[in-house]
């Protein structure tokens, strides 16, 4: 998907300058997020943050390695089940539940990644979709997932045995910290030498191979990292809603995270966050419209793909770049 991201990566400004600008934007975002519960219902904000982290994880693959995973719900949803099960049935603390979910998602990512990276392009998308459907069927049949009921009323025990997260506002700040951690992991990954190799694979895989990079290792590492972060988001979401259900493992969920990233801007640092915010807000307002939500989501897909491929943040970056270029000329 190099065409979509070429504009973002081919900037004339020195890298350090852009990095500082992005970090400044992130700092402003965190400040705004700290104040946000004064205006917005914290559970809604937590939902947005969980999906934003999910979309960031997905974007790491599509935006920086050029791999379209159409099965990311398997990590999100399976991890939600693991954290729900360990916390509810085994009585673990929330921190261990989230860790267990994330670790299982990473392991699942390792297994499915080893299979999926054997194919490229649209085959990669089809393989990940098929594998996630397999995980879905497993979750339907497995005993611990509770079938159609899911795992309900997952308790919110004290975090580290100290912090009472039954209060939504307190838990919101915990979720914000988890989100910030996830963002910084992605940030670090894409700005490290590792991330530069990923971008090289995205732009020209045969070239990267001929330069001596073990492309499959890099792809697999990126895939596992993305799976783990998607799992972190899913495990946290299970505790936010105190529910892990089949909805989170369906192919529709995989489609939703694609949509969020596409709307916000694939391959941009903040696009997934913006996209998640927009799609979750939209779902909130359209909740009463039932099946029309599907139609509207499909419609957004079509419009964005046909007319608006860079996404919101991508368009802003391109516009800004044009302005800077004009100034320089």
């Amino acid at each position: 998907m190099s065409t979509a991201t070429a504009a973002a990566s081919a900037t004339a400004k020195p890298l350090s300058h852009r990095k500082n600008r992005d970090l400044a934007i992130f700092a402003v975002f965190i400040l705004a997020a700290l104040a946000a519960p004064a205006l917005v219902y914290p559970v809604f904000l937590m939902k947005v943050l969980c999906f934003a982290l999910f979309a960031l994880a997905f974007n790491l693959l599509i935006g920086y390695v050029g791999l379209l995973s159409f099965g990311h719900a398997m990590f999100f949803g399976f991890s939600a089940y693991i954290s729900g099960h360990t916390v509810k049935a085994l009585g673990w603390g929330p921190e261990f539940g989230i860790l267990a979910g994330t670790a299982c998602a990473a392991l699942l990512g390792l297994v499915t990644g080893l299979l999926a990276i054997r194919r490229q392009g649209i085959y990669f998308a089809m393989v990940t979709l098929a594998l996630s459907q397999m995980v879905f069927f497993y979750c339907v049949q497995a005993k611990f997932t509770g079938g159609e009921d899911g795992i309900q009323a997952i308790p919110r025990r004290a975090l580290f045995g100290l912090i009472d997260i039954r209060n939504d506002l307190t838990f919101y700040y915990v979720v914000l910290a988890i989100f910030a951690f996830g963002f910084l992991v992605v940030w670090r990954a894409i700005h490290s030498p590792f991330g530069q190799v990923l971008k090289a694979i995205r732009e020209n895989e045969p070239r990267a191979i001929s330069l001596g990079y073990r492309v499959d290792h890099y792809k697999l590492m990126a895939f596992v990292l993305s799976a783990a972060l998607a799992g972190l988001a899913g495990a946290t979401k299970a505790l936010v809603f105190q529910l892990a259900s089949l909805t989170d493992v369906t192919w529709q969920m995989s489609g939703e995270v694609v949509l969020m990233t596409l709307v916000g801007g694939m391959g941009t640092v903040f696009g997934p966050i913006v996209g998640a915010g927009i799609i979750i807000t939209m779902q909130n307002y359209l909740a009463g419209f039932g099946e029309w939500v599907l139609v509207i989501q499909g419609f957004i897909f079509v419009v964005v793909v046909l007319a608006f491929r860079k996404g919101i943040v991508g368009e802003i970056v391109a516009w800004w770049q044009k302005r800077e270029d004009k100034k320089a000329a």
Binding site: R118, I122, M126, V127, A130, L131, F301, V305
Partner: protein
């Protein structure tokens, strides 16, 4: 022998027949996907929705206009193919110069729109479609319902007809040539853009025809397509999209394997195709009939 395995022959052959019928649908759908992908380089995610549309159009023709099954078998695929041609003209052709993934995303969006619309109109529980061939034959080892026999025969005719058309006729040779080198075929004076449009229409029509065949066998439901398309994707990964015959053989074979799994280890019957996909990816990543690009 059957007694040794502890399985009644009726059960075994019954499931084999069901597997064969499922396999017929896998084969017809993966065939259409392969033909479309060959020329358009687009993985048609809308394929499942178009299969569902075929079934629904047949239902509407029967319920609203009183046109029986045999008429719908011709009319429904043509109508759905026309909507496919419109989609190609309006949307798909704008994406041919871009990464293939955009085609996947666009057709995914279209599939959501179509499925959402039908769910809104008809609910997601499904509607019955009267069996046009009631009754059946009592064989020594099993009872063979007439309609199921008809589906197997019809799908074999459709699959091998398509194979013959593409591999053995003049028209098919144009199609194969355009798949390899569209620029060269265009230079010989053949209208390639029109050929692309008609190929998409043909692939979509094939999906709709499968949908009409499916209508009496299963319920007519808005979700019938999305459930099936993911399995068909796995079938396509297993078979590879390079070969028409490969798509047909893989489709039928996987249907039969799935049927056998229902007999011997029912817990895995939902997942067996995905497990086979994983094994094929390990052993021969390009697919059984594919060549790695």
């Amino acid at each position: 022998m059957f007694e040794l395995l502890g399985i009644a022959p009726q059960m075994l052959f019954g499931q084999l027949l069901l597997g064969l019928i499922n396999g017929a649908f896998y084969a017809m759908l993966s065939l259409g996907l392969a033909v479309i992908f060959g020329l358009l380089n687009v993985i048609n995610f809308t394929h499942g929705a178009q299969y569902m549309m075929g079934a629904f159009v047949a239902w509407m023709l029967l319920e609203w206009l009183g046109i029986p099954y045999w008429g719908a078998l011709v009319i429904a695929p043509v109508l759905v193919a026309v909507t496919g041609v419109v989609l190609e003209k309006l949307f798909l052709k704008r994406l041919y110069h871009l990464d293939h993934l955009y085609g996947l995303l666009l057709t995914f969006g279209l599939a959501l729109i179509i499925e959402g619309f039908f769910r809104k109109q008809f609910g997601s529980s499904g509607l019955p479609y009267a069996n046009p061939l009631p009754g059946g034959m009592r064989l020594d080892f099993m009872f063979l319902p007439n309609y199921r026999a008809w589906v197997v025969v019809a799908s074999l005719v459709i699959c091998f007809g398509t194979w013959f058309m593409i591999e053995r006729t003049k028209l098919g040779s144009y199609l194969r040539a355009a798949t390899e080198r569209p620029d060269l075929v265009q230079a010989f004076g053949i209208n390639v853009p029109r050929m692309i449009t008609l190929t998409y229409g043909f692939g979509v029509g094939l999906a709709a025809l499968a949908g009409v065949l499916a209508a009496p066998a299963y319920n007519v439901s808005p979700v019938m397509g999305s459930n099936l398309i993911i399995i068909v994707f796995a079938v396509v990964v297993i078979g590879g999209m390079g070969s028409i015959m490969g798509a047909i053989i893989t489709g039928f074979a996987l249907g039969i394997i799935e049927g056998l799994t229902k007999v011997f280890y029912p817990e895995a019957s939902n997942t067996v195709i995905f497990i086979i996909m994983a094994i094929v990816l390990m052993v021969k990543p390009a697919g059984l009939f594919g060549t790695q690009k």
